[in-house]
Amino acid sequence: MKTTLAILVSKTVTMICKIFKKNGTVFPGERVLKLIKNPLDKIKYPQNVVIITGSSGKGSTVNMIAHILENTGKKVIWNKSGSNIKNAITTLVLNNSHIFSHKMDADILLLEMDERHIKETFKPGIITHLAITNVTRDQPARNVDPSFIYEKIMQAVDKDVHLIINIDDPLICRAKYSHPSCLTTYGISQTEYDLKETPPYPVDFAYCPSCHSKLKYSSYHYGHLGIYECPNCSFRRGKPDYEADKVDLIKGTFKLENSTVSLNKNVFFAVYYTLLAYTVSRTLGIPKDKILKEINENNKESKRLKTTTIQNRTIEMLESKNENSLSYLQSLNYIKSQKGMKTVIMGFENVSRRYSYNDLSWLWDVDFALLNDSSIDKIFLIGRFKYDVAVRLDYASIPKEKIVFVNDLTKLFDMVYTMSKGNIYTMVCFDMTEVINKMLKEIKDEKKDD
């Protein structure tokens, strides 16, 4: 009765949201949870309930897995919207459950989930597979530090959960020792893009969790992800079950199980989400050739990278997560690797969309010196924190004459087109992405009218 009521409330509130053209992904679940305790406990779930979590990359991974599964004949329910907290998952599950039988009509429930919300959303015994992309410093006002988040994730992992982990991350690699019975591992072998020395920014996990000796890295992919071992005990990365080899970001390919895999974007983090999508699909029993066909013919762009062209200048939107220094690093590395002159737009109006704190410490963990390059023509700073960002850029030795403060956001593209040259890269967070998208649409519409 309780579950029927929960489904009824969720579907009704969702319908009302649709009538009033409101976003109905979070609110219905929120209403249900106010009325009913543990509404998801009695749902009859599909055979596979697959969770993808971690500090970054979960959205891109879920997109690709959904594509593979749906195109290989599986019925998948997944959080396409990207809403990944308890309220949103509650809405999704209830709206896709039969009102009387409480059954979800699917082969697989596939969810991108916030690291802190897994345990409080699902009771033990429901999740069948849980994959962890990476655990890095991310939103410290909420997530404290990587070790805290790792513990939160592992609290949701009961002994029967099939764990799929990125063992390039030594923090996650601990699960290899604590959860050995039901485990699949993936990782990237040494690449030509790796650093051989300790990165020029702080890394999250420098010491062995077992004997506290300093970990020895033969290669850093980025952050604390890489090829490492403890010099004094048995803790080591080892060889993963699925290992991406011969990564080539020019061709946009890597080798995996003796086959060539294509990337849908020539960036390093695309190797990780493609590799994990492959690993999860293989673990779910999808044949190798079918997975490869779907990956190699899947040209959908990553959610984090969108491209458009206006007045002969390409604009690439690199969504860079505030309070996540490695997300910024990925964007910086990408910009640096591109050819020709470049203009960068950077900044944010709010540090977070979840809370009103203005913790700016993370800016100092980002290696902004990557922008100290002759190919960077101008950097336009937008948003209420532009001077804080400017201080950071100044300390990264970016020449002052390259910095442009944009005080009136509506003039941004007028300024960009008159004062700068080269392809345009926006490195902004969620709030500014929406604003810039709207501005670009208006510019495009004006051009059409002309």
């Binding site: 404290v144 913790d359 410490s361 400017a390 300390y395």
Partner: protein, 233 residues
Amino acid sequence: MKKKTIKIAHLYYDLMNIYGETGNILALERFCKRQNVNTFVDHLSLNDDIDFDKYDFYYIGAGNEDNSYLVLCDLYKYKEDIKKSIEKGKMFLVTGNAFELFGKKKRLSNGRFIECLKIFDYVAVEAKERLVNEVSYTFDKLDEGKKILGFKNAKFNITNNDEHRLFGFKDSFNYKNFFGMSFIGPILIRNPHFTNYLLKTLFEQLGYDYTPIKDTIEFKAYDEYLKNFLLED
């Protein structure tokens, strides 16, 4: 003539670095350079032999709880050296949860205690929930009553420190040139007036002149921040 130099020790740089702490070292270097004074920075950690007499300025930032206990274990062996160093007037800036380690003990919510260095008498008491808060305080030693801007993200409250609080901030401690506070991150970048105050104090002690320079980008960012997000005491 030999150029003046400030020797800085960034302690446990690879363990206590969770909130952009390197910014503080960069600020010290930059502010000293503006005074035409050299800086010499050593990054030291667990396997190093730390000399608490060699440097003029010692800095430790915040780390995760596990790392802070590794650091505490390592610091025990230097306890007497640290005491002597503080008494001599060496400058210490200790931020985030590193600050908790210099007190008497940490009282955990399960009733247990963790013995700390006992260099000072303050006690860190574990709170029910994490203490995340943005705060600002007027510090009478800064020009025109300028505010200190800080961000706290801590698990512990500090008690038994009433007589030694710095600028009235509950979770802080000042004795001679020891400055401890639970603020996290690059506070010397965000608070250029405070950086000037610390360095002026240190320079005077070393017999160097210090002329605060106040028209730089850090001051502009500080003023803009106050304008946009003016916080009350």
